[in-house]
Amino acid sequence: MPINKKNRLTRSKVLVEARDITFTYDNEQFVVKETSLQIEEGRLVGLIGANGSGKSTLVRLLAGLLHPTSGKVYFGGQSLTRISKQCLARSLAYVPQINPMFFPFTAFEVVLTGRTPYRPRFRFENRIDAEKALNALDRVGARSLAYRPVTELSGGERQLVAIARALAQEPKCLLLDEPSTALDLKHRAMIVQILKSLREEKNITSLVVTHDLQLIDTEFDQILAINQGSIVDDGTPLDILTESVLSRVYNDPSIHAYQIDGRIFVWSGN
């Protein structure tokens, strides 16, 4: 049985779904191959896999940034192609893996764009939007960066700003592509903590793509494991983060996994 904070044994609604999606850039190599997945509302989900296994492509397909070569992606039961982009942006937020910045926008300006889906084309953001943007920055602990140019921020700080923008979007579902890569230990833990509290407070669904297995603990509801473009395993953290499953997912027989106090420690090598 998964460890549940709330009683989540009742059948909940499927929010994100992919049915037999395939994606290929040049019709030769499949990046994602005939994969299906279901993520229920209010779940905190991890997507793990080796480098080049198609994690980022899969999450971009789920976010509607790429269109599957075949198969369909559904959000809230509706096909992504049938939902207007603005409508989707109000309920689905995506945090890109890298956030290169070429213009010295302030961090506040960047976070404020998260409010765009709620504004008509010819309206600027109002004071309420500004307050929401500042609160989002507060939540990731980056309020002090608000008026610094993003070109002068470090990679980790930029990642926090990108996450704050996604929070300002007030979505039902967050898709985060490698949110922890440039973050230090403290902020890594904070991001997961934010996602957990969003789940408890507002029943917000999150999908975290990561190769950093330390990010995942037993409080995740579901772990998807991807190998060579297909989901090969789907289960609770305790099911997936075992030596036998991980060695298969990463094609690495020298993986060790230990559990201490609800945390799972994984390393490779002898």
Partner: protein, 351 residues
């Protein structure tokens, strides 16, 4: 719970949001300031010239009146129209490509337009195609072709490589100018001279006849660019995040492409290659009013008009009786600006 927490929280948020100008007032203040600049430039460029404007003479002398209304006024207005076009397109292209060094000239759009227009001039300047001067159509086609090549070369997957973008733009410009030289050598003498004078970027216009044709192309282009400024604001922060915030990237891409080629095509057909206006103006605007593209595009539109009017006034007066082509003035000023930006850019490693 401490009674101070709520109070502190309240003062914290109210203090901070009061300092933020997020509404229209910021746009209006910026537009007001650039409009003052525009009016100043307009007055200066109407007054200065080979003959300084003399109001008493204008009232009495028929010749002075003709000189003013048929030569100077149209020229000043044309400078304004071209400057507005190049300035706003520059601002849009920079946001679109996430590259502060992008502008019609550096991306080869102007070069392609020049080649197309040269071809049209070699065939005959005056030819009309259904009432529309053929140079406009040819310059638009040239600009569209060149930018398609540059874009195709610099795009890899879903990213535009900034170095390749500029390099491809410069090389397309070189190829285009080689084509122009070829046309000059094969065309007859007067036509060749016409092309030469025009490629450097001069603003010679007599009367107002051509304005209506220009607006036929320019108004839709300007309109599209101004309307898209919000999408471009999001694009400037990254394509993926813009798409996830609801921007239709494909549609935006096509519209920016079409509108830029339309506007630059006409600008090139009328004024030749006036380089770097699309670089200097948006950068100046950003320096003063900040990075918000929703401000930068309309302000660059107005400031661009003022800037080119001033540049043209310098071109008309700096050598006394000899008039310089305005393209020479903007190329010198803009080239130096470009190098300065390139130096500063190394910090951000965008190139």
């Amino acid at each position: 719970m401490s009674p101070f927490v709520g109070k502190d929280d309240y003062s914290f948020t109210s203090e901070s949001t009061n300092n933020i100008n997020v509404g229209w007032q910021r746009l209006f203040r910026a537009l007001f300031l650039v409009t003052i600049f525009l009016v100043f430039s307009l007055v200066v460029s109407l007054v200065v010239g080979y003959r300084t404007l003399d109001f008493t003479l204008l009232r009495q002398d028929e010749l002075a009146r003709i000189l003013f209304f048929e030569l100077r006024l149209p020229r000043v207005l044309l400078a304004g129209i071209l400057g507005a076009s190049l300035g706003s397109v520059g601002a849009c292209l920079q946001a679109f490509f996430r590259n502060p060094l992008a502008e019609p000239f550096t991306l080869g759009v102007s070069g392609g337009g020049t080649l197309g227009a040269s071809l049209a001039i070699a065939l005959g300047w005056g030819i009309n195609l259904g009432g529309v001067p053929i140079v406009f159509v040819a310059a638009f086609a040239g600009a569209a072709g060149a930018s398609a090549v540059v874009y195709y070369l610099s795009r890899s997957g879903n990213t535009v490589m900034p170095g390749t973008l500029l390099l491809a733009g410069v090389v397309v410009n070189l190829i285009a100018s080689a084509g122009v030289i070829l046309i000059q050598y094969t065309a007859d003498y007067t036509r060749a001279l016409q092309i030469l004078r025009w490629t450097i970027g001069t603003i010679d216009i007599v009367g107002f006849d051509r304005f209506s044709y220009m607006f036929l192309f320019l108004l839709p282009g300007w309109f599209v660019l101004l309307v898209l400024s919000r999408d471009l604001h999001l694009m400037a922060m990254g394509e993926d995040s813009a798409a996830s915030l609801g921007v239709n990237i494909r549609r935006c891409e096509r519209l920016v492409y079409l509108a830029s080629c339309l506007v630059v095509g006409v600008a090139v057909a009328e004024g030749g290659t006036i380089a770097f206006v699309g670089l200097i103006v948006p950068h100046g605007v950003r320096l003063i009013f900040g990075e918000d593209v929703r401000l930068v595009v309309p302000c660059s539109f107005i400031a661009g008009a003022g800037f080119l009017m001033l540049a043209d006034s310098i071109a008309r007066t700096v050598l006394g009786s000899v008039e310089l082509p305005v393209g020479a003035v903007t190329a010198v000023v803009g080239g130096i600006t470009f190098l300065g930006l390139l130096r500063r850019q190394r910090r951000f490693s965008a190139i």
